[in-house]
Symmetry: none
Subunit: 89 residues, 4 copies
DNA sequence: GTGGTCTAGACCACA
DNA sequence: GTGGTCTAGACCACT
């Protein structure tokens, strides 16, 4: 997975930074395809952020196609994460 | 204020039994008018029931006019609990 | 502007309902192209919702291309609102 | 702009004067250790200064170690205000 | 017991 | 003085 040189430091925006960190866990195989992530509330505690901030982070990951969310079920690592997570312009 | 006679032998339906117990707390002044009840999740833990059961119980109390619920704010003891707590059929 | 038959009543989701109402004000000419909307905080008060809910509403309008937002300046009615506000599938 | 009679000969720089006044309130025990200060916007109104000026004032107090700020929570009187409130140059 | 929405109100970045 | 982010914690919808 390619990491852009123009973004060496994590985002200054907290929910993006959290999203990036989870994305890295997925990319590294720590979170495997199809696996269920911890509950958003638990992730919020794990990252030391509020539930709302964690929700924004997962929203980012959803938009990136890295996770899929099912109401009442959980959030799961998406089947085929798109290569163009960062558009390769 | 009158406490319902049906309390001595509580309802066999769990969420009604829980609702009755909360109603008794309101009637006894343990929960005063205008006071905010504990969060539904906390009440569920307190009564040792599932969240869904607790939600049904609060729905019953809402129908009885004993509490009012405000999304995102909480549930509160209603101003003037109606005399016909049990519908006057 | 076409209104889908499958959505006769306003959205049950509050921020969408608010967004729809603002959209209607734009469509009706109440809010003209290029005009600045009231501050989001004022709109929140006007609609009787929290600031966060209003922000979600404006986010919806932004996604629909109906408004543009400038940090520190305000939010404005977009130049050419797209015809396919509701995709005509 | 001249203002405060409240300090003997206050700083000519407005935001420093405001910071000094808040510092005096902390020193006098009016604002106790661990207490939350009023919101920055409220302080701005209270002192009759702009929000930016108030932000500069709180920045000064932060640098002096008199207050700590938590995003989304508030600003609080620091635990142990250093003796060298004015840097010992 | 999960994700989804909402409230109230704080600080932050910008023009 | 605007929009942007964040906190803390509530109720709602769904499985």
């Amino acid at each position: 997975m390619r990491v852009p040189e123009f973004a060496p430091q994590p985002s200054q925006v907290l929910y993006v930074a959290v999203a990036d960190h989870v994305a890295a866990r997925i990319a590294s195989g720590d979170l495997k395809v199809g696996a269920r992530l911890p509950a958003e509330r638990d992730l919020a505690v794990e990252y030391g952020v509020s539930y709302v901030t964690m929700r924004r982070a997962t929203a980012v990951l959803r938009e990136r196609g890295l996770i899929v969310t099912v109401h009442g079920r959980g959030t799961f690592v998406a089947e085929s994460p798109p290569a163009e997570t960062i558009e390769d312009a």
